[in-house]
Symmetry: C2
Subunit: 219 residues, 2 copies
C-alpha cells in the first residue's frame, strides 16, 4: 500500500504535493484503486471515458485497433504514468483507443471533473493539480511535435541524424539514447533491419560511430 502511494506521489500529476495531504486529496478526487489481470482490457474502443488513470504497478499498453483488424501500439505505460487525461480534457467521451494490461497491474482512477472544479471544501490543491495537468499536456505536445519533425523527413538517414542531433543538444559528443534498436526503429517508424543497414552505412562513411545505445557524431 505504501508503495502504491509512492507511485501516485511520483506521478507528474501529483508533483509538488506533500505526502501528508495525499489521502484527503484522493478522497476528494473520488480515487479508486483497481487490480487488473494480465491481458484484461481497461478501456475498449467506444467506451465512455470518465476518469483519469494512473498506473500504480505493472505495465499497460495503449493500442489503436481498427475495424479492419489492423493494430498499432501507441504507447507503453509504466508505473507513475497517466492515461486518458488528454481525452478527458478535450471532452472526448467515446474512447478511440484500447488500453490493455501487459502484465498483472494496479491502477488508480480519478474523477476528472473533481480535478478541474474546486470542490465544496475549497481544497487548496486543485490549483496545483491543474497546473500539473497543463504541464503534462504541454509537454506531451512538445514531444509529439518533436517526433513529427523526425517523421517529416523522407529518408531513414535524415530521420536518424535529425533525431541524434536533437538528442545531442550541443554539449557532449557522445549521446546516449533511451531506446534499443527495435524501439528506435519503432519510434522513427522505419524497419529495424533497414535502420541497421543505414547505421552501418553511416559508420562506414565516417559520419557516425555507435555502440549499443551510445552514439557519437563525427565530422
Amino acid at each position: 500500500m505504501y508503495q502504491m502511494y509512492q507511485n501516485v506521489l511520483s506521478s507528474e500529476l501529483f508533483r509538488g504535493i506533500a505526502e501528508k495531504d495525499l489521502s484527503s486529496m484522493l478522497r476528494c478526487l473520488n480515487a479508486r484503486q483497481l487490480a487488473i489481470r494480465k491481458g484484461d482490457y481497461i478501456l475498449r474502443p467506444g467506451e465512455k471515458i470518465e476518469n483519469i488513470g494512473i498506473v500504480l504497478h505493472g505495465t499497460l499498453q495503449i493500442m489503436k485497433e481498427d475495424t479492419d483488424g489492423d493494430r498499432t501500439i501507441l504507447a507503453q505505460l509504466e508505473p507513475g504514468s497517466h492515461f486518458a487525461e488528454a481525452f478527458c480534457c478535450a471532452g472526448i467521451v467515446e474512447s478511440p483507443i484500447s488500453i490493455r494490461a501487459d502484465t498483472d497491474a494496479a491502477i488508480m482512477l480519478l474523477d476528472f471533473t473533481r480535478i478541474l472544479h474546486t470542490c465544496t471544501h475549497a481544497c487548496v490543491f486543485h490549483t496545483k493539480l491543474i497546473e500539473n495537468m497543463l504541464f503534462i499536456l504541454a509537454n506531451k505536445n512538445v514531444q509529439l511535435q518533436t517526433r513529427m519533425e523526425f517523421l517529416s523527413k523522407k529518408t531513414i538517414r535524415k530521420r536518424l541524424l535529425k533525431y541524434i542531433r536533437h538528442c545531442s543538444n550541443g554539449t557532449t559528443n557522445t549521446i546516449s539514447i533511451p531506446f534499443n534498436r527495435e524501439e528506435l526503429a519503432n519510434y522513427l517508424c522505419v524497419d529495424r533491419s533497414a535502420l541497421s543497414r543505414e547505421l552501418a552505412q553511416l559508420k562506414k562513411e565516417g559520419i557516425l560511430d555507435y555502440w549499443k545505445n551510445q552514439f557519437k557524431l563525427l565530422k
Copy 2:
C-alpha cells in the same frame, strides 16, 4: 479595433467569455497589441518565451530552422489562433522554433503567469481561461496523436486510406477533406506527385473515387 476584439473573443482561449468582461480581462493579463510587418520575426530560436500570443489579423508561420539551414514549416497561423502556449505551459523558456509574419499582421501578447495564477483582484475568469487552455492543449494532443497514426504507416496507400477512413467517421459515404493535394501530401509527409499517382491507382482499382477534395470509398 472592434474587429480585433472579435478575433480575441473568437479564439479558443476566450471561448465562453462575455464581451463586456473582455477589456478588464485584457488589462489584468497585461495584454499588448503589436503590429508586425510582413517578413518580420516575432520569435527567433533561442529567444526567451514569456508570453502567449494570439493572431489578430494576417498570417504567421511557425518554422523549425536547423543550424544546417534545413527549414521545415510546422504550422500556418490564421486570425484567432494562438502560439507559444505549449512552450509556456511546459516551462520551456528558450524557443526551439521561429515565428515569422507571412503577411502584415497584428498580434496580441498575454502574460502567461497572469493566466495561470489568480490575480490580487481575484478575477473570476481565470478558472475559465485555464479550462480553455487545458482544452486547447488536449485537443492539439489528440490531433498530433492522430496524425502520428497516419505517419506510422509505411506506404502512401496505407497512410491515405487510414486518413480517409478517419475522416469518414461512419456516416456518409462521401468525405470532404480540408486540404488540397499539395496540403494533403504535406500533411501525410509524402511527395505530391507520388500521392497523385497512388490516388490514380486506387481509382483504377475501384477502391476509391475522388474529385478535388471530395472522396468516396467504394467496396
